[in-house]
């Protein structure tokens, strides 16, 4: 019943778009959904879409891994050592609001076009949510658990590994999921803005070549990739942490 209702709106819009686009005749800006579907299947069949997807996801995941590792280490450090946290406060407040895309030209001058440029920017963008949320997760660890660690006379490293990290893990995974979404968005954005590779470049080229069917096929495909990535991470979160993650953070 609900799934039927969810499909009603997109189906109606697709039919309207098809009728509208056919009535308007051939156009350089908009293509009917049927032509988009044909272009999408053609792109999937000849491998161009898959190749572009591979490039985009490779940079997104590499950047996510680097940015998340740095952000997570800093977040745990700031969360567990109050003095460092307070000393770095202003620095973080000044750097964090710099829009990730503003770093593109700096990385472009230093690294040139290619994977490294994209990976650097994605890491910069993914660093912040992990830093902020893992710091909050560590600070939010039940104080009684810290007392247990003290009673067991665990060293600082053992305390982080055995007590703090497991307790904060569900919230940290929520942050990781958020960052994975950001990674894909930033990777595509970098490709659209400057970097000649991947899905973002593909959609720009199709637009400039006045091929609205190919352009919209790329758009639909980027939507599918984003949706699949998000769905996979939500699934992983529910499998790994179940109820804990839902209680700990925003869905």
């Amino acid at each position: 019943m609900t799934s039927w209702r969810g499909l009603a709106l997109p189906a109606a819009l697709l039919v309207l778009a098809e009728i509208g686009a056919r009535a308007a005749g051939p156009s350089d800006t908009i293509a009917p959904p049927s032509a988009v579907a044909v272009a999408l299947l053609a792109g999937l069949a000849d491998g161009t879409l898959m190749e572009a997807t591979r490039d985009t996801l490779a940079s997104a995941f590499a950047g996510l891994a680097i940015g998340a590792a740095i952000g997570l280490s800093l977040g745990i450090l700031f969360g567990s050592v109050r003095a460092i946290d307070r000393l770095m406060e202003l620095g973080v407040e000044l750097l964090r609001p710099i829009p990730s895309v503003a770093v593109i030209p700096i990385a472009l001058v230093a690294l040139g076009f290619g994977y490294r440029l994209e990976i650097a920017i994605v890491s910069f963008a993914c660093l912040w949510p992990l830093l902020v949320l893992s710091r909050a997760a560590v600070i939010g660890v039940e104080p009684r658990l810290i007392e247990v660690a003290r009673a067991l006379r665990l060293g600082p490293l053992a305390r982080v590994v055995k007590i703090v990290a497991p307790a904060a893990l569900p919230r940290i995974f929520v942050a990781f999921r958020l960052a994975a979404g950001i990674a894909l968005v930033v990777a595509v954005t970098v490709e659209i803005a400057v970097n000649p590779m991947g899905l973002g470049y593909g959609i720009m080229v199709a637009g400039q070549a006045l091929r609205p069917d190919v352009m919209l096929a790329y758009l639909v495909w980027i939507g599918v990739v984003g949706f699949a990535l998000n769905a996979a991470l939500v699934f992983a979160q529910n499998r790994l942490f179940g109820h804990a993650a839902r209680v700990a953070g925003p869905p």
């Binding site: 609900t2 799934s3 209702r5 969810g6 499909l7 009603a8 709106l9 997109p10 350089d28 800006t29 908009i30 307070r86 000393l87 770095m88 406060e89 202003l90 620095g91 407040e93 000044l94 750097l95 609001p97 710099i98 829009p99 990730s100 895309v101 503003a102 770093v103 593109i104 030209p105 700096i106 472009l108 001058v109 230093a110 979404g181 894909l184 968005v185 595509v188 954005t189 659209i192 803005a193 400057v194 899905l199 973002g200 959609i203 720009m204 199709a206 637009g207 400039q208 006045l210 609205p212 352009m215 919209l216 790329y218 758009l219 980027i222 939507g223 984003g226 949706f227 990535l229 998000n230």
Partner: protein, 256 residues
């Protein structure tokens, strides 16, 4: 109370000292040519370029252009997002039709609609407003939907008992109850709007800081480039600070 305030001030000064030390370190790195000055200008050169750009060149106009794009798109997104969110959020029937489509569209990178917007609007400010509006609408739409959907059921019973119409219920009961969500959405939307404004200016060459930093990078004018990035960071800080202030003022009644 007084001693804790003094302590907070001490930490704040310490944290300022860390930033000052970082800038000094930056200067030394450049002075010893550890990084080529083509990539990294000395801090004093970056700030001199910032000052010169604002006083003598057209950096001020670029700043105004970026702020204009950002606020324009954000305003469109706010109006559309809050109105649609209220409509969808207050009716479970509408929600069951619309929510699945929104779930599919939400993870779509907003920048991916730029080529489509260019095809429709050309390389114009209307394109930038369309893209920013589309991208920044999601946080507001979803937050408003959530806020209107999560109204305490007893408040709705009160509305029914008072014989309020649907519109009156939305304005008098749901809107105040959803305000915290909406404000959080507005803040997130403004961040998105700034990012998309910069991207649009880079791609379409619209007057703004995005265009300024990209041109500076292409010409290897690293001081101008850093001046632009510093200014963009400042815009981000100010936008966030202003909305935090509004948020704190608007939500004062909840603290009591």
């Amino acid at each position: 109370m007084n001693s804790s305030a003094r302590q907070a001030f001490a930490w704040r000064s310490g944290s300022l000292a860390v930033v000052a030390a970082a800038i000094l370190g930056w200067r030394e790195i450049v002075a010893f040519k550890l990084v080529s000055p083509v990539f990294l200008p000395a801090p004093d050169r970056a700030f001199a370029a910032l000052w010169h750009g604002l006083a003598a060149s057209d950096l001020g106009e670029k700043l105004a252009g970026t702020i204009e794009h950002m606020l324009g798109g954000w305003l469109i997104a706010s109006i559309v997002g809050i109105a649609l969110g209220a409509l969808i959020g207050s009716s479970a029937g509408v929600r069951s039709y619309v929510a699945p489509s929104l779930e599919f569209l939400r993870p779509l990178p907003a920048s991916a609609v730029i080529p489509v917007a260019i095809a429709i609007f050309g390389y114009s400010s209307a394109m930038a407003l369309g893209v920013i509006g589309f991208g920044a609408v999601w946080p507001m739409l979803l937050a408003t939907m959530h806020g209107f959907g999560a109204v305490e059921p007893r408040l709705k019973e009160v509305a029914r008992a008072l014989g309020l119409s649907r519109f009156e219920t939305a304005i008098k009961i749901s809107l105040p109850s959803a305000t915290p969500d909406i404000l959080a959405g507005l803040r997130l939307g403004l961040t998105v709007a700034l990012i998309l404004a910069v991207v649009c200016e880079m791609i379409a060459g619209l007057d703004g800081l995005g265009q300024w930093v990209l041109l500076a990078a292409r010409a290897y004018r690293s001081a101008d480039l850093f001046a632009g990035v510093i200014l963009l960071g400042a815009v981000g800080v100010c936008a966030n600070a202003i909305l935090s202030l509004i948020e704190a003022r608007a939500l004062r009644w909840r603290g009591r």
